[in-house]
Amino acid sequence: MEFRFKTRTKYLINTVAVLALYFFLMFLQGDVLTRYQSKMLIPVGIYIILAVSLNLAAGFLGQLPLGHAGFMSVGAYTAALFTKNVALPIAVSFPLGLLLGGIVAAIFGILIGLPALRLRGDYLAIITLGFSEIIRVIILNLDFTGGAFGLRGITRATDFTSVFICVVITIAVLHMLIKSRHGRAIIAIRENEIAAEATGIPTTYYKTLGFTVSAFFAGIAGGLYAHYLGILDAGTFGFMKSIEILVMVVLGGMGSMIGSVIAATGLTLLPELLRGFDNYRMVIYSLLLVVVMVFKPSGLMGTYDFSLSRSIESIINSRRRKAAKKEGVSHDSHT
């Protein structure tokens, strides 16, 4: 008899693990890490949200969007303008602003997704790239976004706790989405779009859904980013930012959330770790990228996904099997 946790126990295990991780990181920040190192945890969290959300559209839905930075910038500007112009205490306006940023980014996701998702493969990549460039040019030319001077004076409300909560929510929601009926439809579209359509999956609906959810979380990450830096410059949300996020997703493995998390953490920290070789760090970074792709094209993790409860289950099961075997052997020798 294989051992299985009850669903409720699984939730309990995950909640405990998340809380343990939070307190562990808090402890690290307090005692082990320097001020500078603890500050690095915030961009790591923001990039995890971006990579995991892009993984939904790229890894699970099988599309190739190159405009993630566009959604991020929409979320960032929306959230920043909201907290700047609303007369509420920052503790209230900050979460509201993040939510609003996510919603506006999601609306842009629908607006861009509906026409763009008619195209496939590389054309979809190009058209999303085009849209995000247009968003950038428009932001640069509007007055209320600060134009080329950038948006200044945003309250720096993003701290470790808020980023951590957002990361947990993002991963939990996306995980539940993927494990649900809708998630299976999304994966079916990746595996074979024509076959999926033939079995009655409304492909346009699910493609737009995946795209929109992906944009929503990119918007939230943008809001966090805006309140982390305190100043926004439309130039930073260019084509290279989208590429940076895509690189994390592909390097970690398309369709592996743990892969995105590891790659986002690693790639955000790597340039910092290589600071000793300051001049060479970007050269090393790009060489590493090519080498990993040439030797492991499916990314570091492939499509493997980590589940704590499942790992515990398999450890318990293998122990039981071993114990049963031993018992069986001793039983045989007696007779």
Partner: protein, 291 residues
């Protein structure tokens, strides 16, 4: 007169875009890869010419030949080292590799030549022509003439020679081409070589027009040339030429009459409209997916 001037300017930029777009288009046609490193090959070509002229004191024509030769070898090397091992893997891995190569070239150039822009010497020293109240420089006319010349040569190469036939066959159906006795590996190398050589020519024309070069000059130029290739129908050679000219004209007219800041937006706007109306680009063939 101003209108004519803007149009000629547009043709100048457009013909450079067209030359670069040809490289994207041919490579895409044959290996289905958006070669992101193409823009950076332009940058390398520009630095080669600059190095030969300013540091080693070589005459312009030798510098140009050096740049073309270096880019050709570079393009073929990149294909052999980075793209060939991935020919059977998912397309997105290939794309990320191309991005990696692009980042590598950019950062290497920043390391070697520093991030500061350099001044590119004038190559064409002919007198400029008076056009109404404006002056039309000889560089402008030279750019258009040289581009048209190379496009004609390329059309001849692709349509009339045996190698061109092999290229067309390989882009139509790689496996069948191989069965017909075509060495697909050589053909792909050759395609990269031609594309990179055209990029070097484009680099020298671009630097002559804007008189400066920097490690990141290839990014925006490459992106716009790529847009031109898609606009014309990726994989189609006449399409790349038309696409390049359309993008050049649109950009120049927007800069002249509306706002120079909006030029990039207009370029991408045109791209989106064309893709939505005719998803394969102006001259592209439509591909039906078989079950």
């Amino acid at each position: 007169m101003t209108f004519l001037y803007q149009v000629i300017n547009g043709l100048q930029v457009g013909s450079i875009y067209a030359l670069v777009a040809l490289g994207y288009s041919m490579v895409y046609g044959i290996v289905n890869l958006i070669n992101f490193a193409h823009g950076d090959i332009i940058m390398v070509g520009a630095y080669c010419a600059w190095l030969a002229m300013m540091k080693w004191g070589a005459p312009p024509w030798i510098s140009i030949l050096f740049a073309i030769a270096f880019c050709t070898v570079l393009g073929m090397t990149i294909e052999k080292v980075a793209y060939k091992p991935l020919r059977k893997s998912p397309r997105i891995s290939l794309l990320i590799t191309a991005i990696g190569v692009s980042l590598f070239l950019e950062n290497l150039a920043q390391l070697v030549f520093t991030a500061n822009p350099q001044r590119f010497p004038t190559i064409v020293t002919l007198p400029s022509i008076q056009l109404g109240s404006r002056q039309l420089s000889a560089t402008t006319i030279m750019t258009i003439v040289v581009s048209v010349f190379f496009m004609v040569v390329l059309s001849f190469l692709v349509n009339k020679t045996k190698m061109g036939k092999a290229m067309r066959a390989a882009s139509e159906d790689e496996a069948t081409a191989q069965l017909m006795g075509i060495n697909v590996n050589h053909t792909i190398s050759f395609t990269f070589a031609i594309g990179s050589a055209l990029a070097a020519v484009g680099a020298i024309l671009y630097c002559s027009a804007y008189t400066q070069l920097s490690p990141l000059m290839g990014v925006m130029l490459g992106l716009k040339a790529f847009v031109a290739a898609v606009l014309g129908g990726i994989g189609s050679i006449p399409g790349a030429m038309i696409g390049g000219l359309v993008i050049g004209l649109a950009e120049s007219l927007t800069k002249g009459y509306i706002s120079s800041q909006l030029a990039d937006g207009v370029v991408f706007g045109i791209l989106i409209v064309v893709l939505l109306i005719k998803p394969t680009g102006l001259m592209g063939r439509s591909m039906n997916e078989k079950v």
